[in-house]
């Protein structure tokens, strides 16, 4: 009884939250002033409520069922967003996997060698302050010079690498914290048992890192999705949600609900990515206890 309730509650609360946002949107649109709310002469603090600026929520939903363009044979917006979403999600997943592998390796090296930590960690942190726009051309240029057993570097590869660039950071930092989380008592115990670094890693450090690693993986997934979508724009890769956001924005004046379709698509793949990481958490459930880790 209580268990069903505790399971259903987050779902209900989530639905309630979405419903609330929708209600606020439509109520403001219905009762808010046409020209928006201004502070003084110039500063607009709440948007205009014209159909152009704020389509009704149901219009945005309906728009998914209508064709993308008036041309004959045009797919519905839903089909287009679905395909683009899968494409972007695929690139984000590739980026996430690369980022996780690199992040974990960096964390292991930093955990193993004190010197490596002081040498690498500042660079890891610094790497995230470089704007994506600056990285995109670099990645493309360097990538085109790489010859991997005859594999030709594509724009997809560039996007995946940029997604990985964003995803590795939380993984490296989270995994390092987790690997270093065992108390001195535990490390002394392993030493007393005469086991070396690798077995200590397997028996103690890796399991202990799980509670730190899971949120890091989820953060990494979100970063990979954002990275993929933004990189598609910077690299100029067609087929994904990134370009679609730009393309559809151009029809905003005639078709105000249309630009929202790829935005919802991006939200959806973000949720899918986070959900997939949640499944990993489910598999690692036995290691999630931290209560008695003293």
């Amino acid at each position: 009884m209580t268990t069903t309730w505790t399971r259903i509650r987050p779902v209900l609360l989530g639905a309630l939250g979405v419903g609330l946002v929708v209600a606020v949107w439509d109520l403001y649109k219905a009762f808010g002033p046409e020209e928006g709310v201004r502070l003084g002469e110039r500063t607009l603090i709440l948007p205009r409520t014209t159909d152009l600026a704020m389509p009704h929520s149901w219009e945005m939903v309906q728009r998914f069922g209508e064709p993308v363009t008036s041309l004959a044979g045009s797919p519905t917006a839903f089909e287009a967003v679905w395909d683009a979403g899968l494409f972007s999600l695929g690139l984000a997943t590739r980026g996430w996997v690369i980022g996780v592998v690199i992040g974990l390796l960096l964390a292991l090296v930093m955990c193993r060698f004190r010197i490596a930590e002081s040498a690498i960690l500042p660079w890891v942190v610094l790497s995230q302050t470089v704007p994506l726009i600056a990285i995109a051309p670099l990645v493309r240029r360097w990538g085109s010079q790489i010859d991997l057993f005859g594999h030709v570097w594509t724009s997809e590869d560039s996007v995946a690498v940029i997604a990985a660039y964003l995803a590795f950071f939380p993984v490296a930092v989270g995994a390092l914290r987790g690997l270093k989380s065992p108390a001195r008592t535990h490390l002394d115990l392993m030493h007393a048992y005469g086991v070396g670094w690798w077995r200590t890693l397997l028996v103690l450090r890796l399991p202990a890192s799980v509670p730190f690693l899971l949120p890091a993986l989820r953060l990494g997934a979100a970063s990979a999705v954002v990275g993929a979508v933004v990189a598609e724009v910077s690299i100029g890769l067609k087929g994904g949600l990134g370009r679609m956001v730009i393309d559809y924005a151009q029809s905003a004046s005639g078709d105000p609900a249309k630009p929202w379709a790829p935005i919802f698509g991006a939200v959806a793949i973000g949720l899918v990515a986070a959900g997939a990481v949640g499944l990993i958490g489910l598999a690692l459930r036995p290691f999630r206890v931290t209560g008695a880790f003293r």
């Binding site: 108390a183 008592t185 535990h186 002394d188 115990l189 030493h191 007393a192 048992y193 005469g194 086991v195 077995r199 028996v203 103690l204 399991p207 202990a208 799980v210 036995p286 290691f287 999630r288 206890v289 931290t290 209560g291 008695a292 880790f293 003293r294």
Partner: protein, 273 residues
């Protein structure tokens, strides 16, 4: 052969320009099967001495042998079991899996492991909790699991650093009674670190009193000389015997500078630290 022999040991920690003489000119012998406690105020080097014996740290000068071997060899041979103030159980492992960890790491086969763990849990009275996780146990029960784990490989020596330090007084006395029984059953020698004078006196054959800055041994009290039975044969009633109080007063006197006149409230200060 003695279980532990410490000869002329110094341990100096230097951190930048700071120099801490954690141990100076320490000599100590623990005979096989003997129960010896280290007592003294915080920072007098009790844990440091125990860690040197366990080969978790190395002396700056001097020599330590355990059953006639180097401390390193004794560690690799699993000659000692060890327990700390924090039970140090792995929270994702069940009680059984925690106790069998050292056995598993040293390659004992599964059937033998199961049998040994069952025996150990019986010994510490936790058979009903074999499948529980550490966070489902009280502090005292966790510490019993840690002691079972320390005993898993039938060591001839137990090293214990304030294992009951985090427990309430009532649980603590019960654990002391149990430890006496366990030691009698296993015949292991014990080096036991504590802050509590009554605990040291109740458990030990000899109590080693230490003082800080520099960390050193200031006196050794032979409890049996006060008319108490050997440590292995003690029962709860020993705490009411006059010999017990004599020994407590003696240890207290040395702790407070060997004046022989125990300070009325200062003595409690050691307990409460």
């Amino acid at each position: 052969m003695s279980a532990i022999e410490v000869r002329g040991v110094d341990r100096v920690f230097t951190r930048g320009r700071n120099r801490v003489d954690a141990l100076t000119a320490v000599d100590l012998e623990v005979r096989a099967g003997e129960f010896v406690s280290l007592i003294g105020p915080s920072g007098c080097g009790k844990s440091t001495l125990l860690r040197l014996v366990a080969d978790l740290d190395a002396p700056t000068s001097g020599a330590i042998s355990v059953f006639g071997k180097t401390t390193r060899q004794a560690r690799l041979d699993q000659d000692y079991g060890i327990a700390f103030q924090q039970a140090g159980l792995l929270p994702w492992r069940t009680v059984t899996a925690n106790v069998e960890l050292p056995l598993k790491l040293h390659g004992m086969d599964k059937a033998a492991r199961r049998a040994r763990v069952a025996e150990l849990l019986e010994l510490v009275g936790l058979s009903d909790f074999a499948k529980s996780h550490p966070d489902q146990l009280s502090g005292g029960m966790q510490q019993r699991v840690a002691i079972a784990r320390a005993l898993a490989e039938q060591p001839r020596l137990l090293l214990m650093d304030e294992p009951f330090g985090a427990l309430d007084e009532i649980t603590r006395e019960r654990m002391q009674n149990e430890l006496v029984r366990l030691c009698a059953e296993t015949g292991a020698a014990v080096l036991f670190v504590t802050h509590s004078i009554p605990e040291a006196v109740f458990l030990s054959d000899r109590v080693v009193v230490m003082s800080p800055r520099p960390g050193r041994i200031t006196g050794i009290v032979d409890i049996r000389a006060d008319g108490l039975v050997p440590a292995h044969d003690r029962a709860a009633g020993v705490r009411e015997e006059s010999g017990f109080f004599r020994a407590v007063a003696e240890v207290r006197a040395i702790l407070h500078g060997g004046s022989g006149i125990p300070a009325p409230d200062g003595a409690r200060g050691v307990d409460l630290r």
